[in-house]
Every structure is written in structure tokens, then in C-alpha cells.
């Protein structure tokens, strides 16, 4: 994408930024890259395989990147929503980054998929996306591609789980979560897991057992789901990173459905939008607050 290459090269040449975080062609599909010279920028690409949420590299926990100075980062709309959340939660200063938005026509579920986008290979979040042209960004590149198709598998899976009895559902999750090895990849990849000390690492008292045992696994995945309620932008990186194949986006998707129904929440790239369940408001629709 020449427009992206030109823009980022200029930003580096002018000294506006020290690094550009974007996508390049890798040995197994598209992968993230940190470009430090205009020469590096020539490798930057963007297509349906640009699955990664690069906002994760702006997290305050990525200290190794922060020390490299001011960064420009390539963002899809969903990624920009994650940046908005970081801004809202004061984990990032707007002036410390240059945000390059890309007009987006949807991405695959994996970095290696090929062919036209279809209901079978498109990512769950893409259908009906309202953020295809992010507004939070400093630069917006590319032409607006056609709307992506809507994936149906996850919604069907959530609906199927809802059909089960509580005991059957519990059994399903017991089986799924038994596979968790507590490698914390889901936490490491999440752009919104920003705590300086994760509650799962707290030892006195230890609310969440850290060994890969079903008891701690349940606690961890429940804590993760609840900490993301009203924050998760549904980028699906947790599930992509999970070596055990736990259907984490099913949890995220269900929490997102509840947040939408109860609080009218949808991921947004407006950093001033209120945090739906983390805000005291005397006008709250729930009577008890008065």
C-alpha cells in the first residue's frame, strides 16, 4: 500500500516519530513489524490478513517499545477502539502516539487465509462493523473497500450454548477450561490487560490460584471476562493466541451481547464515551443508585 509507505516514511524522515508499528509479509502470512527507518517502511502492507490488533503495542506494559520513543501505529477501526479505551483509562497520552487509521473491509480469522472474504473465513467482529473508518486517528489512508460479510459461527455457537441446561453448560465450560495451561498468552496479547500487577498474580491473598487446575482456571477466565465487560473491543487476539484452543471469543461475545442489551454498549473509538459499568451516574437507569 504505497500511501501507507509514503506517509510512514515521511513521518520517520521528519522526525515526527521514532518507530512505526505496522504489518509486513512474514513466513506464515502477515505479521507485525516495528519499522525504524524509511527503508523498513517499504515492507509495510495492509490487507485482509492484517488480523493483529497493534494497539497492544501501545499498552504501558510494553516498556521495551515505549523506550524506543514516539511511535506511529497502523490501526483498523476495532484497534482504534482499543486505543480509545487506553486513552479513557489514562494508560496512554494522545500526544505520545501518531495514529494511522486504515479504511477497512474486514479481516480473515487467521493471518494465512486466502481468497475472497466470505462468511466462512471472515472474523467474527467484522459483520456490521461501524468503525470501518476510524475517527480517532491522525491520518486515514486507503479507499473504503466494500462491506465485509457477516460470520455466523460464533453467534450460532452462543445460541447453542444458551439452549443447554445450566448443568450441561457448566459441563461444557469445565471441559473447555480444563485444557487451559495458564500460559497467560491471552493476557499478554490483550491490548486492554494493562494492570501493573494482575489480580491473578496477587499472592496475599491469592484470589486466583495460579497452577493449571480447574478451580483457578475458572476464577481466571471469569475475572478476565468481567474485567473486559464494557471494555473489550472483540479483536479476538486472546483466542488466536491461545495454544489450548479455548473458545475465549465465545465468552467475550456473550459478555458483549449482554453489555449491548443492558447498557447499549458498542465498542467505540471515542475516548470520551463513558465506561458503561464503571461510571457513577445519578441518572443511572437503575433505581438503586439513588
Amino acid at each position: 500500500m504505497q500511501e501507507l509507505v509514503d506517509l510512514t516514511s515521511k513521518l520517520l524522515q521528519n522526525g515526527d516519530v521514532n518507530v512505526v508499528i505496522g504489518y509486513e509479509e512474514g513466513p506464515r502470512g502477515v505479521r507485525p513489524v516495528v519499522a525504524a527507518t524509511p527503508d523498513d517502511c517499504r515492507r509495510l502492507i495492509f490487507d485482509h490478513r492484517a488480523v493483529h490488533n497493534l494497539a497492544t503495542y501501545l499498552s504501558p506494559r510494553r516498556k521495551h517499545l515505549r523506550v524506543r520513543g514516539r511511535a506511529a501505529v497502523v490501526l483498523k477501526g476495532c484497534d482504534a477502539a482499543a486505543v480509545a479505551t487506553l486513552l479513557r483509562e489514562r494508560q496512554l497520552k494522545r500526544d505520545d502516539v501518531v495514529l494511522i487509521g486504515v479504511r477497512c473491509g474486514g479481516v480473515y480469522r487467521t493471518t494465512t487465509a486466502e481468497g475472497a472474504l466470505s462468511a466462512d473465513n471472515v472474523a467474527d467482529r467484522c459483520g456490521g462493523c461501524a468503525l470501518r473508518e476510524p475517527t480517532l486517528v491522525d491520518h486515514l489512508v486507503g479507499d473504503l473497500p466494500p462491506e465485509p460479510p457477516t460470520a455466523g459461527q460464533r453467534a450460532a455457537r452462543i445460541a447453542a450454548l444458551e439452549e443447554l441446561s445450566p448443568a450441561e453448560r457448566f459441563d461444557y465450560w469445565r471441559r473447555s477450561l480444563a485444557d487451559c495451561v495458564r500460559c497467560n498468552a491471552c493476557r499478554a496479547v490483550c491490548p486492554l490487560c494493562v494492570c501493573e500487577r494482575c489480580v491473578a498474580d496477587k499472592t496475599d491473598p491469592q484470589w486466583i490460584e495460579s497452577s493449571p487446575h480447574l478451580r483457578g482456571n475458572f476464577s481466571w477466565h471469569m475475572a478476565r471476562a468481567l474485567h473486559l465487560a464494557g471494555r473489550c473491543v472483540d479483536c479476538g487476539e486472546c483466542q488466536r493466541a491461545c495454544p489450548a484452543g479455548i473458545p475465549l471469543t465465545v465468552i467475550n461475545g456473550k459478555v458483549g451481547q449482554v453489555m449491548g442489551a443492558r447498557f447499549g454498549f458498542r465498542p467505540t473509538d471515542d475516548p470520551d464515551a463513558p465506561a458503561p459499568i464503571g461510571t457513577f451516574d445519578p441518572d443511572d437507569s437503575q433505581e438503586f443508585i439513588r
Partner: protein, 672 residues
Amino acid sequence: MARIGVFVCHCGENIGRTVDCAQVAEACGSFPGVVHSVDYKYMCSDPGQLQIKEAIKEKGLTGVVVAACSPHMHEKTFRKAAAAAGLNPFLCEMANIREHCSWIHEDRARATAKAIDLTRFIVEKVKRNQPLVPISIPVERRALVIGAGIAGIQAALDIADGGREVILVEKEPSIGGHMSQLSETFPTLDCSQCILTPRMVEAFQHPRIKLMTYSEVESLEGYIGNFAVTIRKKARSVDDELCNGCGDCQSACPVKKIPSEFDAGLGKRTAIYVPFPQAVPNIPVIDRERCTRFKAMRKGKKKEVCGRCLKACGREAIDFAQEDRLITEKVGAIVFATGYQLYSIGEEQPREHLSGYGEYGYGEIPDVIDGMQFERLASASGPTGGRIERPSDGKEPETVVFLQCVGSRDPQKGIDYCSKLCCMYIAKHTMLYRHKVHHGRAVVFYMDVRAGGKGYDEFVRRAVEEDGAEYVRGRVSRLYRAGDKVRVCGFDTLSGEPLEMDADMVVMATAIQPQPGIESLAQKLSVSYDKSGFINEAHPKLKPVETNTAGIYVAGACQAPRDIPDAVAMASAAASKVLGLFSNEELERDPCVAQVDETTCSGCFHCERVCPYGAVEHLEVRDRGGNLIKVIAKVNQGVCQGCGTCQATCPSKSVELLGFTDAQIFAAINSL
């Protein structure tokens, strides 16, 4: 090593009936760390408390658990006893085996087992309790009173007479509120202005009362003992230093036909006006919406029009260029006394759930008036000089029909509550009317007559028996014009017959509502209100003048419909609370407040967003070189009310509520 004492109370039969207290004491004696465990009939009695004190001294207890009633009931009692024996009071806790156990269970064996569990839970918590010291914060010993009706004036005078400074803020040009509009007052029929104006003057002249009329509260910061309030002093367009209240400007003003708010729309006023002759302060204000000069200025005319008041004023006090001023004052306590307004039967309603009265003509029938308008007709200072004249043609009405409960107690119209004063003032209206129009008929349609109050029922009976008021039990279904009369269609529920009659005038006792804008003011002050907008008291019985925000009190009809004696009593009660608060230079606060772990806080400020009290501040953490490392949350312990919402919200569990730390709760839960 912990040395815990457990004291199991029978509470007479209250606990003992369902729980085997001796068995609970025995079981608790075997818990690790428990060195003393006894049961007793009444732990809260003197001998009971003595047992605790002696055990603390003799056994060297490091913690005390009293298994008894709710901590709401007796935590203070037992903590005081512990403190008297030299133990930090926060090392004493209660296990609630009454409300949470004996009162709600029947099976003795299982209730006993549960009581043992509840006590074990608290024992494990107390083992990890830390001694806490009450927080002391300085108190700014000045008060702010919002609203200068009778409640606000009374509260301000009481506080000022108690030796403390008061800022009395009133949004209208004069103090006095609705009471200044009333003719006579029930149940004694003494003249309202005659008893009110001396108090108004007293408030005006009081050396410790700073009066700010035509002013409104803009914003509030701070907390009990240390509020900073910003007050908007609206532009009066008249210099209050120069004006001597001579009234020449009013005589000169050519805009004379503005409906007077003071006369409830029945009289007229000028564009530069003093609301009523006894107004305090006696300084006019220019109604900028209606003044010819301001109208022209708004239209962008360069030429200065009119200005007759300017020419008439001998002291050059008129100042068209005056602007609103913002003034910030420091106060330690606030009394909320903004009063009421009357519900209007018109079609347009300020709230969605309210609806107007189409069946009564939506207020479009001129001879259908509300109670306040009748007050002005009956008042010697009113637009008719006290003669009862109906608004349409000025004739003396021969038949007046009074309707009670218009809007009130009518869920279909949106108000469920009883407005409380109407029964009394309608009875008063019938008397005033009959005293002035001897041959006239006064007919009252009522649902019930609620006259609970000293001398109230006698008063209503006097209206019926001596002054000939005719009371009809039933509601009126429709009012409409019939010639120059108002046709009243109703139903007499006692005789069971429909009733139709012609009235010359109809007076409606419309519902009492809080002042418009009370919600936004309440939000600025962080006090809660109910669905009708009335301010919530902290406890309906035991804290009737406190709000849920410490240091803010409530008086008068902004809390619920209140008559004058009630409003005055509330005002004096609120004033005594304020003076009680001001009796110390420093304030002691419960130390069970939130604390942030600086090392692990990531500064996401979820805690700040959820805090209902605005207690979370930002703290910059810097290294020795002064470089900013991070910005994290810090809890202002003076503001924190210890609700624990931040502790529950913090994703990394970096907030602890002292007295309820994670370690305490975790150990307690694990003990089960």
C-alpha cells in the same frame, strides 16, 4: 499470636430460643487463636460489658468477637467497652447471630451450627484486624443555607444566633419565599407577613448572616467541614450599595403590565421591580427578559432606548452593564432548603410521568384558580386589597367550590403522595371567604380530611360548624364554562349520587412539588432525591434532617410537603445539627476508608469514575530526580465514606478498605 475472646449473647430469648448459645461458646473456644469463649444472657448490659473488659485485661486479648445482634445496633457499645479496657476499638467486631440467624430460622440444631459458622467467620477476620485511629479533619465553621423561605431563614437565624457565620443564598430578588405570599395562616389565622417580616429583617440585619439574594449555587467542591461553594450572583442591573429603595425607578418604568410572580399572576408589575413592598432587601431588579432597553439590545439596536429608570434614579444606581459574578465561599456545612412549587394543571408538564388536567380545562378557565392565587386574593396586600374578586370580571363570587387533592394522590396523573397541607389551607380558605362574603357558599370536594396536628382538627371542624363550609365527599370529574359560571360535575360518594352545580369561582388545592431544577442542584451537591425530586433524608425516622452526604442537611418542603410549623421545626433541627458539627474545631471520621496501594496501582481511574463521593484524587509519583513515573489514584480520606465500591471495581485489587481488607475477607471466607 492472636488471643481472641468470643462473647456469645442470648439477647434474652431473642437468640437463646433458637440458638444453643452455650454450645456456640464451647465450639468457638476450640477455634485456633481463641483463648476465651463465654455466653451470657445480655452482653450489652453492664455486667455483660464488664465481662468483656475483664477478659481483655486478664487474658490479654488481642481481639474481641461479640456474637449477638446487628453491628448497627451495638457495635459502638462494644467497641467503647473494648476501648475502655485498653484495646483498640477496631479490634472488636460483631458476629450477627440474631438478624442473620435466630430470627430467621426455626431448626435449633441447624441454627446453632450456622451461628458457629458466622462466629468463626468473624474470628478469622478479627485475627487480621489492624488497630485504626479515627481520622481528624479541620472544620470550617461557617454554614451555607440554600433558599431563604421560612425554613432557610429559620435555619440561618438559629445558626447565626449560635455564634457561627451563615451565607444565606436566595435565587429570587427577595427573601421570604412562599410564606410572604400567604394571607393568614392555619390554625390560628394570624397574618403571615406580620409574623414573617420581622424574621426577614432580623436575618437581613444579623451581623453574622451574609445575605445573597438573586443568587444561585453554581458548583460545590469538597466535603464535610471543608466545602468550597461557588455562587452565581446574577446581575441585578441595580447597584445595591447605591440604591436606597425609594421606588422612583418603578414609577418611571413604562412596562407596567407584566404578570406579577408574587401575586401569582393576578397582579401586575413593572420591568424594574421590587417583588413586594416589604421585600428584603428593598432593592429593585431589572427583568432583562422584559425590559425595553434589554429587548432592544438583544435585537442588536445600537441606539440606547428608554432608560427612564436611569433618569429617574437620583442616586445613579441603575447599571445596565452589570454582569453575573461568581463568588467562592468556604463553608463547613450546608442546609438545603429550596422549598416547593405548586403543580400546574396545564397541558405542558415538566416531567414525563406527569399529565395535566384536561377535564379541568388545562388551566384555561379564568375563574378556576389555585390555592396560591386565592391566598393573594384574600391577602390585604394582594392585588384586590383583600376583597374576594374573581379574575374574569372582578365580581364577588357567590358560590366558591374548593377541590382538594388536585394532582396529589392520583397515580394516573403521576403523583402518588399526599400533599399534606391542602386539607388545612382549604379549610382556612373557606373561613377567609365566609368572613369576607357572609352570604356566600363555600363547597369543598374532598377525598379525606387529613388534619393531624395540634389544633388542626378543631380548625377544620370550626370551618364546618361555625363558618358553614359545606364538605362533599367525592371527586370532581369535570369543570367547564357555563355562561359566566363554572359548571362543576362531581359525585357525592356518601349519598352515592352524581352532583352538578354552578360555581362563580373554583379553587384547586394543587399538589406540592419540589422547586424546578432541584435535581440539578441535588446533583451538584451529591445528595440523593426521590422520583418526585424531593430530597432524600438519610433515615426516615432517625436522621430526618441529614442527607446521604455528610455535612449537608435538609429542611422544609424540599424534602416532602411541609407546613410552616414543620418547616420551622426541621430548620431548627438542621441548625442544631450544624451547630453540633461546629462545636469542635476538628472532626473525627470513621477510619474505615479506602487506601490505594501505590506500588500496584496502574492509574486506570476506574475507582474515580465509580466513586459516588468524588473522593478519588490524582497523585503524581516522581523519582528522586523529580521525573514523573506515573499518575495514580489517591483517596481523600476526608471525603471517602467507606462504601467499598472502588475496592470492588479495581481490576488489580490495588484498593483496600481499611477494616475490610482483602486479607480479612479472604481469611473469613476460607474459614467456611
